[in-house]
């Protein structure tokens, strides 16, 4: 009975501890104006992505030829801003295939958020693994892994992504994979640095002397220290992943038409910039706002969670 109650006490204490730590972190984050602004925009974008079907007035991939009396690349028509009521309303106009641009921009949020989270998710998993074994085991493992990372970092990332997509074949999935591969070195370095700084600490030595396995020491004792820099780096990484994916789609290597992806939308209509600027303007603004949200959030998180990084990188 006594053993049981002390176990309950320990559990409660643990709950209490993580709760206060969480609250402390949250309080610090909420003090950062940029984090609040970025977070708010991000929540808005996530809601737009989730409820895209309800928000978009038209099917993003469906042409309106034969359904509405409207010419291709017609500019925005907003009734409350004076557009005649007998004309169909298109908040951002229609594109070269007579599709509603507003609906495509709305659905594009889904694609871009998916791109950001999935690429950086993959890059963090692989990067963490490589960085962890590199920092923990050192020696030739470290030498080989880090030299490969150096070579990857020496390439301009967009050019390397272009080359990888050409190897794998055009398309959004392969573009995502290419961006993930190119992003790996950043996370490998972050984790390696963190592992190197903690592996000689007393509590790790204590764990080792108790006979804990390498796996246990690495994943239970050392890696939790890397979570903060990974969250910060990951948030900023999502911003650049979205930019890179849009760039690849812009030059025709990423998402293929008719997928409503902002970079593809920009790329396929870029020659119309002088005659139908709305086709270029709106997708670009959408990319910028999304990337800005992650950048602001990342900056705010860094200032809140990692004051040392903030001093170096701000």
């Amino acid at each position: 009975m006594a053993v049981q109650s002390s176990a309950v006490n320990i559990l409660n204490a643990r709950d209490f501890r993580s709760n206060t730590l969480f609250r402390l972190m949250l309080r610090r984050i909420l003090k950062q104006r940029s984090a609040i602004l970025g977070g708010t925009i991000l929540v808005f974008l996530i809601l737009v992505a989730i409820f895209a079907e309800f928000l978009a007035p038209y099917d993003p991939e469906d042409s309106l030829i034969g359904k509405e009396d409207i010419k291709k690349r017609t500019g925005p028509c907003i009734h409350i801003l004076g557009c005649p009521a007998d004309q169909p309303q298109h908040l951002m106009g229609v594109d070269g295939n007579v599709r509603d641009v507003f609906s495509r921009v709305i659905f594009g949020t889904r694609v871009s958020l998916f791109v950001g989270f999935s690429t950086i998710g993959v890059a963090i998993i692989i990067g963490t693994f490589l960085g962890a074994i590199s920092g923990y085991f050192g020696g030739w493992t470290d030498g080989i892994v880090m030299r490969v990372m150096d070579v990857l970092l020496a390439f301009p990332s967009l050019l390397l992504s272009i080359a990888i997509v050409n190897v794998l074949g055009r398309g959004l999935e392969n573009a995502l994979l290419a961006i993930a591969i190119v992003s790996i070195p950043t996370y490998a370095r972050v984790v390696r640095a963190s592992v190197l700084s903690t592996k000689e600490t007393d509590y790790v030595s204590a764990s080792r002397s108790l006979g804990a396995s390498h796996f246990h020491i690495l994943f239970q004792r050392i890696l939790p220290n890397s979570i903060t820099p990974l969250i910060v780096q990951g948030t900023l990484g999502i911003a650049s992943a979205i930019l890179s994916a849009a760039a690849l789609s812009f030059i025709g290597l990423g998402a293929q038409p008719p997928t409503p992806e902002w970079g593809t939308m920009l790329g396929s209509e870029r020659n119309q910039v002088f005659t139908a600027p709305h086709l270029v303007f709106f997708p670009g603004i959408a990319i910028m706002v999304t990337v800005l949200a992650f950048n602001l959030l990342g900056d705010g998180l860094r200032d809140a969670l990692d004051p040392r990084l903030a001093q170096v990188n701000e």
Binding site: D150, A154, F155, P156, I251, P283, G284, V291, L292, D299
Partner: protein, 359 residues
């Protein structure tokens, strides 16, 4: 310093070698037959066999790599598969465009980014600081190609007929030619000699060539053509430099020696520029060195938007067309440029902070 430079150059060899291996491997992993990519799907087997043999593609990959390395060491980059011309000549034609674009963008980002960061740090939390930081955050979030298109729309279409009009594409207005300096000066250079290639490379730097030949009409025209692309390309580096300058300056302005300088009665401008900025320059110099990758990546997009025949666009086209020799040669040039610029940055540390001893 010389010892340090030599050591750094030696240390760069494995990285450049790694880049060569990765590039060589990657371009050969691109699925599809280079022959059919070049000559079309209807090329007969016989034609393709001859093509493959001509370009040495029938040999095993390790043999191809060894032959390739041997040639590179002799400065021979081979012939382009697509254009059937020496890669060296294509490089001489294309590199100057990107050099001019990249240098102008880098200069712009330094002369805008550093003062913006300084003002932002000195006037911390003021309206100027907020505006600069919002601008910097938007700058790093903006797609280069979108900004390029928007700039082209505003300056080439909206402002048409005003003195602010700027051309949206190309390097020179049709009808204008940049006469090479060696022709103006009456030099007789044997074609295909190294001197000729070097002279060609220099004369293809239109801005530089027009200055030394005092052809101001071409200089003005080439410069106006470069303004929009370089502004678009410089946005992200400018924003990054401004942010880095601000945080580095904020760090330095807190130091005791700044208080001492002020207590001595030095003029505030002197305190900021001489005492604070110089000490804040180290991280700024580092970040400027790292911008090169962004500039080269951005050059692919900027050159596409503004129809400029530079290295970035050529490399992108060559990757897509499986033109192995061009991809390899251009990547080597970019990698070497990257290594050299970062070496220069390291050397600049000594001038910025005399306490640093490179050896």
């Amino acid at each position: 310093m010389i010892q340090f430079t030599i050591r750094r150059l030696l240390m760069a060899i494995p990285v450049v070698f790694g880049i060569l291996v990765v590039t060589f491997g990657l371009v050969r992993m691109i699925p599809g037959d280079p022959c059919r990519a070049m000559l079309g799907e209807k090329a007969t087997q016989e034609v393709c066999d001859r093509f493959t043999k001509e370009h040495g593609l029938d040999k095993s990959i390790p043999v191809q790599f060894a032959l390739y390395m041997g040639k590179i060491l002799k400065g021979d980059f081979g012939n382009s598969i697509r254009f059937s011309r020496p890669v060296m000549i294509i490089l001489v034609e294309r590199l100057p465009m990107t050099l001019e674009l990249g240098s102008l963008a880098l200069i712009l980002s330094i002369i805008v980014g550093i003062p913006a960061g300084i003002i932002s740090a000195v006037k911390r939390n003021s309206i100027v600081d907020v505006v600069v930081m919002i601008g910097a955050n938007m700058g790093v979030s903006m797609p280069v190609y979108w900004l390029g298109l928007m700039l082209a729309y505003v300056f080439a279409l909206w402002l048409k007929g005003t003195p602010f009009w700027l051309p949206p594409s190309g390097r020179l207005t049709a009808g204008l030619t940049a006469v090479p300096f060696y022709t103006v000066w009456g030099w007789d250079l044997p074609v295909d000699s190294i001197r000729f290639h070097v002279a060609e490379l220099i004369s293809n730097l239109f801005l530089f060539n027009s200055i030394i030949t005092q052809n101001w009409a071409v200089f003005k025209d080439a410069l106006t053509h470069l303004i929009l692309p370089s502004v678009a390309l410089s946005t992200i580096p400018t924003a990054i430099i401004a942010r880095m300058t601000r945080s580095s300056m904020l760090d330095v302005l807190r130091q005791d020696y700044i208080r001492t300088a002020r207590a001595k009665g030095l003029m505030e401008r002197w305190v900021i520029l001489k005492h604070a900025l110089r000490n804040a320059m180290l991280p700024i110099a580092t970040i400027i060195g790292l911008e090169l990758g962004i500039l080269f990546g951005g050059a692919v997009l900027t050159e596409t938007i503004f129809s400029l025949a530079g290295v970035g666009r050529m490399l992108f086209e060559a990757i897509t067309a499986r033109d192995f020799p061009i991809v390899q040669a251009f990547t080597v040039v970019i990698a070497v440029a990257y290594v050299l610029v970062n070496l220069l940055v390291d050397i600049s540390y000594v001038f910025i902070d005399p306490r640093i001893r490179l050896d």
